[in-house]
Structure formats: C-alpha cells, structure tokens
C-alpha cells in the first residue's frame, strides 16, 4: 500500500507522503492576483510606450540622448518608466518562478535556478531604478 518495494519503471518516483503542513500564508494568492492586475496595467503602459517611442511624432528616428534627457526631466515619465520597469520585472520573475517550479524536478536544481533568477532580476530592477533617478543630462 505504501511505496512500491522495487523502483517503478516510470520516470516519476513514487509520490512522497503528503507533507501538507498548515503554514498559513497568502503568498500564492497575492502572487496570482498580482499577475492578473500587473498584466492589465502593463498592457496600457507597454503599448503606450511603444506608441510614443515608435509611432507618434516622428517615431524612432527622433530618439537620441536629448530626447531621453528631456523625458526623464519630467516626474510623469519617470513614474511611467519606473512603474513599467518594476511591474514588468516582477511579473516576469514571478512567471519564471512558476515555470521553474513546474519543470525543475530536483529540489537543489529548483533552489539554485530560483536564486539565479532572483539575483538577476533584483540586479536589473536596482540598476534600472538607479538610472531613472540619477540620470544626468549634462553627462558627456
């Protein structure tokens, strides 16, 4: 009735005895909800961004250092870009976390893949935030 006496032929091991301890946490609920809400917000932010950058007012040809400097002198565009950066990065990281949970079979692999993911996305978020706030239009 319990684990088979000989190793099964299937690629999966006999499922472990359920270890469903009742740690009370709404983490999975909030991350599920976050994916939906950030997805909707990102549709407007990203499509708006693409429209402004590539289509309106001369399109991609007019983008240069001065254009970027001009935009980031306004708190509105700073907030827009910051929001886009954070939402997209957390949305993507959470999605990758789910995919790793789905596909990495060994606990060790899963742990290290997730660590790599968190470090990489943390670094990107920090770097992006730093650039948005410390951008110096007089450089160079």
């Amino acid at each position: 009735m319990s684990a088979p006496t000989q190793p099964g032929p299937m690629s999966i091991p006999a499922p472990r005895t359920p270890q469903r301890n009742s740690q009370r946490s709404n983490l999975e609920l909030y991350s599920w909800l976050f994916m939906r809400i950030s997805g909707i917000v990102l549709i407007f932010l990203v499509l708006g961004h693409l429209l402004i950058m590539n289509v309106l007012d001369g399109g991609v040809q007019r983008i240069n250092f001065a254009f970027v400097a001009g935009r980031w002198s306004s708190p509105f565009w700073q907030t827009w870009d910051l929001l886009m950066l954070w939402l997209a990065m957390i949305h993507g990281t959470n999605g990758m976390r789910t995919i790793i949970n789905d596909y990495a079979e060994r606990d060790q692999t899963r742990f290290w893949l997730k660590m790599l993911l968190y470090v990489a996305s943390g670094f990107t978020v920090l770097l992006g935030t730093l650039v948005i706030f410390t951008f110096d239009p007089n450089i160079g």
């Binding site: 000989q6 099964g8 299937m10 999966i12 359920p18 740690q23 946490s25 709404n26 599920w32 909800l33």
Partner: protein, 249 residues
C-alpha cells in the same frame, strides 16, 4: 421469422478488425514498459473495454486492467486512449479512428504497477486531505437540514464526480508536482464549500490556499476535457479561487 422480403431499413452491423496498441508492463518480467499490438474484431458500437476483455479472454490472459461496473459509474477503468484520458467503458469504437492502431496506456502521474493499473493511493490521499464530507454546525442534527432547489443547484456540477482520476492524471502540473492536490480533490472540496448545509468552507479554503493548492492551477482545461462525467472542472477550480479572493482579501 415471417416472410419479409423487402430490404431491411437498417443494415446489419459489420464487425471490423481493430488494432490496439497497448503499453504493457509486467513488473516480474519487464525492465521497462513496451508497446504491444493486438487485433480483435469489433462492432462500431463496442466499447474499448469490450476490446480489452476480448484481448484478455482470447489472446493474452496476462493483460491487466481495472474494471468494475462497465457503465461509467464506478470510475475504475480510466486510461489514456489515443493520448486522452477516457473511461474504457464509455469510449465507443465508432468514435475512434480505426484506420490506425488505437493506443491504450495507463493514466500518467501515478506510479505504474502493472499494464494499465496504477497506484491510486496518492490520488485518494489528496482527496481525503480536503475533508470531503459534510461538516455540520453546532450539535446538529436536531432536525432535517433543509435546502432550497437553488442552493442545491449551486454545487450540482461537482456532485457528479466518480473519482476515476481522469482529470487529475491529465493535469500537467500534477505530472511534475506530486504535492499538488490535483483537480479531483478540488472538485470534491468545491462540492462542500458551496453547500449551504456545510460549515467547513473556511477550513477547506485554508487547505486549498496553501502553496500546493488551487494557485498551482494553470487553467489548461485538460481536466475539463478529460472528465467522463462532463464536470466543468476548471470552472470549479476557478470558483474556489474566487471564493478565496473575495472572502478574505
């Protein structure tokens, strides 16, 4: 027979040769499962279960599979037929493409024991862990638990489950994550969460809010497609998610 010489309105059914490609595994003989072909004569109205019984009775008596009622109620003969989870007793030959061999294998995600038989213990362990029984309020019953037709209709869909494991073993999350409850357990929880007579909804929602609970569902609809009882399984899971979000957030 009286003398009726006119051509009959219905043509007599014709049996045709149908090949079944069955994934065999005999733990005392085989290292690995392998495919084997069997050809039997079947009528279009025959079931896949009939074919398996013919093969076992007439060709190879070692073929092992579960069956009990043979009428789609006991949920014993869930198997993967042409890559889809189906009950062998509810799948008719006329609904399959018999120009190619029909593949039959055990359901995935549970340990294979022999041929088409898997170890169902993890499946029932998940089922038991959502408390699939009525949890009454106070010291009842002191009188009948009355319920309106509307209240009964609220959870009617999920009462149809026969615990065949077609849905759970069609779920790609369940294949890789053996701690996930799986669709069938969530259907069982849904059946009591939305029952007006039951007082255990909070408890069950708490259980399904865990890391391996409803939030692992990826909404692939494999479960809804697989259910031989026509339960909208994915919808039932979404209802539990909604209950979690709107009651407690």
């Amino acid at each position: 027979m009286t003398a009726t010489v006119e051509t009959p309105a219905f043509a007599a059914p014709v049996a045709s040769e149908v090949t079944f490609r069955i994934r065999r595994f005999q733990p005392e003989l085989d290292e690995e499962p392998h495919w084997e072909d069997y050809t039997v004569a079947l009528y279009p109205t025959d079931r896949v279960l009939t074919a398996l019984e013919k093969i076992k009775g007439e060709i190879d008596g070692t073929l092992t599979f579960r069956r009990s009622c043979g009428h789609g109620i006991c949920g014993s003969d869930a198997m993967r037929i042409n890559g889809r989870n189906r009950l062998a007793c509810k799948t008719l030959v006329k609904d399959l493409d018999i120009s190619k061999p029909i593949t039959v294998e055990a359901i995935k995600g549970l340990p294979l024991e022999k041929d088409l038989v898997v170890d169902m213990d993890p499946f029932f362990a998940a089922y038991r862990s959502v408390l699939p029984f009525l949890i009454p309020e106070g010291h009842e019953p002191s009188k009948e638990r009355l319920q309106s037709a509307e209240e009964r209709a609220r959870f009617d869909d999920t009462t149809k489950c026969i615990l065949c494991a077609c849905c759970t073993t069609s779920c790609p999350v369940y294949w890789t994550d053996d701690q996930y409850f799986g669709p069938a357990a969530i259907v069982a929880a849904n059946r009591f969460i939305f029952d007006s007579r039951d007082a255990g909804a909070e408890q069950r929602l708490e259980i399904l809010n865990a890391k391996e609970g409803v939030w692992r569902c990826r909404t692939t609809f494999n479960c809804t497609d697989a259910c031989p009882r026509g339960i909208e399984v994915t919808k039932a899971i979404q209802e539990v998610k909604r209950a979690l979000i709107f009651r407690r957030v």
